[in-house]
């Protein structure tokens, strides 16, 4: 590998903290919540050891944490925060505000079931229910990817003036310890230019942000957001490539795993991708042409790339670790919508797998492939025991 000289055993959350430290944020408002807390604690540890030169503040809620993020970002600082589940939901109002303000905040969310009833298991409904808040949303599969993505996130977000949220699954990623290659500080510094926005809360400029606005201007602001959103996928690709040149690990909006000549492609996000890789390998060994299409960038949804990726594939199975009551799996809905009116679209089956954090074993996935590869799909997502 290029440039690697430091491999450590890190949990997913600590990998995030290392990535954040290397990205040199200036302000980090943080509020604890299981299972995000190790991110916070590692950052405060770095800070107390003088290894992280940032203003850390610990307000009384995630709402205030995100409020401080927005304000600090508008003042021109590089900003990071992390949360999970309830915390993310409490931030909801400010997520809209942040994207409306085009504040390039980077936030890490640890996917966890929201109450009620109370639980602490991996489930992506917390972040997926923030789908329409105007943030770039990315999902990470592993500690290494979480570290790599959080660094890339600052570059993407700041370049496009859009806030960016990365999620990884509770425990499966957040607390799973794996060897993680740490880039060197100089590498990251060369990759990530300092944040210097032209417009900011600055006494030498005197311009104000957020004053009441008329209909047409509000409308225009969302069109500008749309224009920026349209550039995200390419930016993710470029940034992922540049990161690859630096570290040997390239990224894009989607990742194909053994999809060449596949009759069935499994589409999913987050930690489930690891299990799917195992199932794909097992099925390929058995002679089934099966592959994985991993959705790394969920918002904006890379619609055209998805269509290109799935054109001519006979069957796609979508695995959702989330449930939108009344409509089923969210990725399932999104994919059906993305493939709208496509002549050579695959038959799309949706499965509600792992909702509430239940384990989805490789064998289960293999069974689903066998069972549904040639079946007629239903419109509704199918609950999987």
């Amino acid at each position: 590998m290029k440039g690697e000289n430091n491999i450590r055993l890190l949990s997913g959350n600590h990998a995030v903290s290392w990535g954040v430290k290397l990205a040199r944020p200036q302000v980090a408002p943080l509020y604890p919540i299981t299972p995000q807390t190790p991110i916070l604690e590692k950052l405060t540890e770095f800070h107390s050891r003088g290894e992280l030169d940032a203003e850390l503040l610990t307000p009384e809620s995630e709402h205030s944490a995100m409020s401080a993020c927005v304000a600090a970002s508008l003042t021109g600082a590089r900003v990071f925060t992390a949360t999970s589940s309830q915390g993310l939901l409490l931030m909801h109002e400010l997520l809209h505000y942040a994207s409306g303000a085009r504040a390039p905040i980077v936030m890490f969310n640890v996917n966890r079931t929201p109450g009620s009833p109370w639980a602490f298991w991996p489930d992506q409904i917390d972040s997926l229910s923030q789908r329409d808040t105007g943030w770039i949303k990315m999902y990470s599969e592993s500690p290494q990817e979480s570290l790599d993505t959080v660094i890339q996130a600052f570059r993407i977000s700041e370049k496009l003036s859009l806030p960016l949220m990365i999620s990884h699954d509770a425990f499966y990623v957040s607390h799973a310890v794996e060897p993680v290659a740490l880039p060197q500080q100089e590498q990251v510094d060369s990759f990530l230019p300092a944040y210097k926005p032209e417009l900011r809360l600055d006494t030498s400029l005197g311009q104000s942000f957020g004053a009441p606005i008329d209909q047409a201007t509000w409308n225009r602001s969302r069109r500008e957001t749309a224009a920026a959103m349209a550039r995200v996928e390419n930016e993710v690709l470029e940034t992922g490539k540049a990161w690859g040149e630096l570290t040997g690990r390239s990224y894009a909006a989607l990742e194909h795993y053994r999809t060449e000549g596949a009759g069935v492609v499994i589409v999913t996000m987050g930690s489930m991708c690891g299990t799917v890789r195992d199932a794909v390998d097992a099925l390929r060994e058995q002679g089934s042409a099966v592959g994985l299409l991993k959705v790394r960038q969920f918002r904006p949804l890379p619609v055209q790339t998805l269509r290109n990726s799935l054109a001519g594939i006979p069957c796609a199975l979508v695995l959702d670790r989330n449930y939108s009551p009344g409509m089923g799996g969210i990725l399932h809905q999104e994919l059906k919508s993305a493939l709208f009116a496509m002549d050579d679209a695959p038959r799309v089956h949706g499965f509600l797998t792992g909702v509430g954090g239940v384990n989805v074993a490789s064998m289960k996935i293999q069974q689903l492939v066998t069972e549904y590869a040639d079946a007629e799909p239903s419109v509704d997502s199918v609950w999987v025991e």
């Binding site: 408002p29 003042t75 809360l201 942000f209 606005i213 201007t217």
Partner: protein, 290 residues
């Protein structure tokens, strides 16, 4: 006659859309010019938000972030920390919030900022209700006052925010009135000289909300002070109380009677309010050691 003394300046521009005769606009003029150009403002939804805007125009020379209703103190913290990170720790960060955004929905964030003793100046324009939404009650609305959501008069007392803040032991809390502009300016100046969380509560008689004449905001504020309904005082470090004016020269009756929101009060109601005000006054004098 004592001359009014506050810095003349251009930090607040004419052409703003405050109601004619608005004491909040007047107070903004005093406060912004006292603070001067090296400051960043934080304005949650409120009359001040309307007065500062609207896009693309601004009536204030300093940059302002228009935040959400409940997060002025948190936003100010974010700005302050950002300025610290950029090596500009001396720039004042000032919240200009209403009582809804302070006593009610913003109290949590304010309490948190106060607990962290963030280096911010928080000004609450207390017009005793949600006046920008047409006049509904807040927890700052006084007992018996008629508002859009208390058509028969509010059944509970006004929240004592100063005491809540004093319990945080922040370095400086003060009350101000638009009838005492020199004092207002002096208190802002004093607050600016102190590091940490400073809170200044300004009583703002709302012309339509309280039902007073266009030219009577200052007079009404003066009566609020003179009757002891809204005493002017300072609390330092949460424990050192100083009365700015330690005499009262009128009963609450005249103050109440000239406002539409109190016009329904019976004599018994008025004596109850008088008793409450008397109690509060004695309490303050006692705290101030007078």
């Amino acid at each position: 006659m004592d001359m009014i003394d506050y810095p003349d300046g251009e930090q607040f521009s004419p052409g703003h859309v405050a109601c004619a005769g608005c004491a909040e606009a007047l107070s903004l003029r005093v406060i912004l010019n006292t603070i001067g150009p090296d400051a960043i403002g934080v304005v949650p939804p409120s009359c001040t938000a309307v007065i500062c805007g609207g896009y693309p125009l601004s009536s204030v020379s300093i940059p302002v972030q228009h935040t959400t209703l409940e997060n002025a103190a948190a936003s100010a913290s974010g700005i302050k920390r950002s300025l610290n990170a950029m090596g500009k720790p001396d720039t004042t960060v000032v919240c200009l919030a209403g009582d809804g955004g302070t006593y009610d929905i913003g109290l949590q964030a304010l309490s948190s900022a106060a607990e962290r003793n963030e280096d911010i100046l928080y000004v609450c324009f207390d017009n005793e209700g949600y006046m920008n939404t047409g006049g509904q009650k807040s927890s700052s609305t006084p007992l018996n006052a008629i508002t859009g959501s208390t058509p028969a008069g509010k059944l509970s007392r006004k929240k004592n925010l100063v005491e809540i803040l004093a319990a945080h032991r922040i370095p400086y809390i003060a009350t101000c009135s638009p009838a005492h502009l020199s004092d207002m300016s002096a208190k802002i100046k004093k607050a600016e000289s102190i590091r940490g969380t400073k809170v200044i509560i300004v009583i703002i008689p709302c012309l339509p909300g309280w039902g007073v004449a266009d030219d009577a905001a200052v007079k009404t504020a003066r009566m609020a002070v003179d009757s002891g309904v809204f005493p002017l005082y300072e609390v330092e470090d949460g424990v050192d109380y100083t009365m700015t004016i330690n005499t009262r020269n009128q009963a609450v009756n005249a103050y109440l009677k000239q406002q539409k929101r109190f016009r329904h009060l019976s004599d018994a109601d008025i004596s109850d309010i008088q008793a409450d005000v008397d109690w509060g006054w004695e309490y303050l004098l006692d705290r101030a050691g007078k």
